[in-house]
Amino acid sequence: MNFQNLCFFQHNFTEAEVDVAEIFSELAESISACYSKNTFPAKTAIYLFTPDAGVYHSIGLWENALAHGPDFANPKNFPWTLASCPASFLARILNAHGPNITLIGGKENLSQIQEWIKLHAAQGLIEVAIVVNLQNNFNGQNAGIGFCKGVVIFIETDFILNSNFWEVTQFFLKN
């Protein structure tokens, strides 16, 4: 197995108060641009790490409940209170039926991700691995500001992960 055609992407969220689904739909378009065919293979996995996905919407949902009462709070954004929502949202758009993983925190998660890509590739579960680092602006509590960067990894049968993952790691370590 071997890495082939690592494709890096970066998407900055700069518009405040943008609908979160729109943000991730645009991100999915950026990721799709990495793949020459129309849709990713079903054996595509998403490995997302984030320090703060869900924070903004959790606070927002409870603010709404305090303002209108729990029985009248707007549930529209409830799925986005879950840190796993961005990865599962991307999976739906990208047709990614492989493992869907969200890790809380920062770059310290890369060794865990590396281990699982290696395992899932060896088990024949994945042909493509998409590693995503999502960071919203939690200090300003605004999900519309922040960034999402990542890499699409195409896996071949003579896959040698350890040496190639160095390049992936360097990308995430860069500010």
Binding site: I46, T50, P51, D52, A53, G54, V55, S58, I59, G60, L61, W62, E63, A65, L66, G69, P70, D71, A73, N74, P75, F78, P79, T81, L82, A83, S84, C85, A87, S88, F89, A91, R92, L94, N95, A96, H97, G98, P99, N100, I101, T102, L103, I104, G105, E108, N109, S111, Q112, E115, W116, L119, H120, Q123, L125, F138, Q141
Partner: protein, 382 residues
């Protein structure tokens, strides 16, 4: 048993049905249900006022609740494992809402310290309390997160990244989740009835469950008797809808099949399925179909634990993993509390009373989450 096998050597729980593994197990055998009415939820204006919460008044109702529950569960697990914690131990945690109370306070204007609120706080607290510096991973994979944590810990041991791991899940009671599930019309007004013809939805719970996981070789060196074997974790994604599962259950079944394939066993070797069984109309129907497709010809026994315990989100599959181990140790399949009648189109065998089973080999612990995130973890007898 091969020395490379990964085993469980200790377990601890904090649940609405007992704050020790033995209490929890006995209450299951007695078919008790933790659901009760809560005055504070009524005062606060929740339509649904029934939930499964811990009644232990020594656990604070503040932004440390989850951490305290986690520490108490880990203490029990370490004691049972009779293990001296060294600083290289790994910590693997699953959670959905983190310390939800901190977010609720932030909504009232209190400054938010994100490091004390998101799921990482649980791993850091465990590390700090037990003076551990090994690898950590915190899975925010919602209601399947406990399975992810245990599966990751097992893999970290197989790969040699850690020798011993603390793995499990924790979620303190979350008003944010209560509002979300209630307003999404996913909650039952009375009792959670997994796989029942009259099921009306899920019921929120809370708690923590942790397991000590190590290689069999390490357990042998320590002269410890392992409790169970951790098989492989099967994962898949519906890629279908933000909240609804795909009604065909195909990807749920694929996670189950992956777990079987990766562990190297066939479906006939699984004696009991500890189902996700959330009690929602759509999820239970999809899961019943998935089980029928993978295990149908075997008539494998199926139970859902959430009728008794409620749905403790990221802790749920960890609590259920503990019950899987108990089931193997006691050669007994626990019942589906509050289940009365199976829908005519569900072709699965639901357990409604404890069943003794002498030759239990493997059990499958299933957990799914919003967004179609599917997990299935195999746990076997030693």
């Amino acid at each position: 048993m091969r020395k490379e096998e990964v085993v469980v050597s200790g377990m601890g729980v904090m649940t609405p049905l007992g704050n020790t593994v033995e209490q929890l197990w006995q209450n299951f055998l007695l078919q008790k249900c933790a659901a009760k009415h809560w005055d504070d939820l009524e005062r606060e204006g929740f339509r649904t006022t029934i939930a499964c919460r811990l009644t232990d008044s020594t656990i604070p109702e503040d932004g440390t609740r989850g951490q305290i529950m986690a520490l108490r569960a880990v203490e029990q697990a370490l004691e049972q494992a009779n293990i001296e914690v060294n600083r290289d131990v790994g910590v693997f945690v699953g959670t959905t809402m983190g310390e939800s109370f901190a977010f609720e306070e932030a909504a009232s204007g209190k400054p938010l310290d994100i490091l004390k609120a998101t799921g990482n706080v649980f791993a850091r607290t465990i590390q700090k309390h037990f003076k551990i510096e090994g690898p950590t991973a915190v899975f925010g994979t919602a209601c399947a997160a406990g399975n992810y944590a245990i599966g990751a810990a097992a893999q970290a041991i197989r790969s040699g990244r850690v020798k011993v791991a603390i793995a499990g899940g924790v979620d303190p009671f979350s008003r944010i989740a209560m509002v979300g599930f209630s307003r999404s019309r996913a909650m039952t007004p009375d009792f959670c009835r997994p796989f029942d013809v009259n099921r009306k939805g899920m019921q929120l719970g809370e708690g923590a469950a942790f397991l000590i996981i190590e290689s069999y070789e390490n357990a042998l060196k320590r002269n410890t008797t392992p409790l169970a074997v951790i098989g492989e974790l099967g994962l898949s994604c519906d890629a279908y809808h933000l909240t609804k599962p795909n009604e065909n259950g195909f990807e749920m079944g694929k996670a189950m099949q992956h777990a079987l394939n990766a562990t190297g066993i066939n479906s006939e070797q699984v004696n009991w399925i500890c189902a996700h069984g959330s009690g929602t109309v759509a999820s239970d129907a999809a899961e019943a179909l998935a089980i029928k497709n993978i295990f149908g010809k075997n008539n494998t026994l199926v139970s859902g634990m959430k009728g008794a315990l409620g749905h403790s989100l990221g802790a749920a599959t960890a609590m259920e993993a503990v019950l899987c181990v108990q089931s193997l140790l006691h050669k007994t399949v626990p019942p589906t509390v509050n289940h009365i009648e199976l829908p005519s189109d569900f072709d699965i065998k639901i357990v409604t009373e404890p069943i003794k089973m002498e030759n239990m080999e493997w059990v499958l612990n299933c957990g799914y989450a919003f967004g179609g995130i599917n997990s299935a973890l195999l746990i076997g007898k030693v």
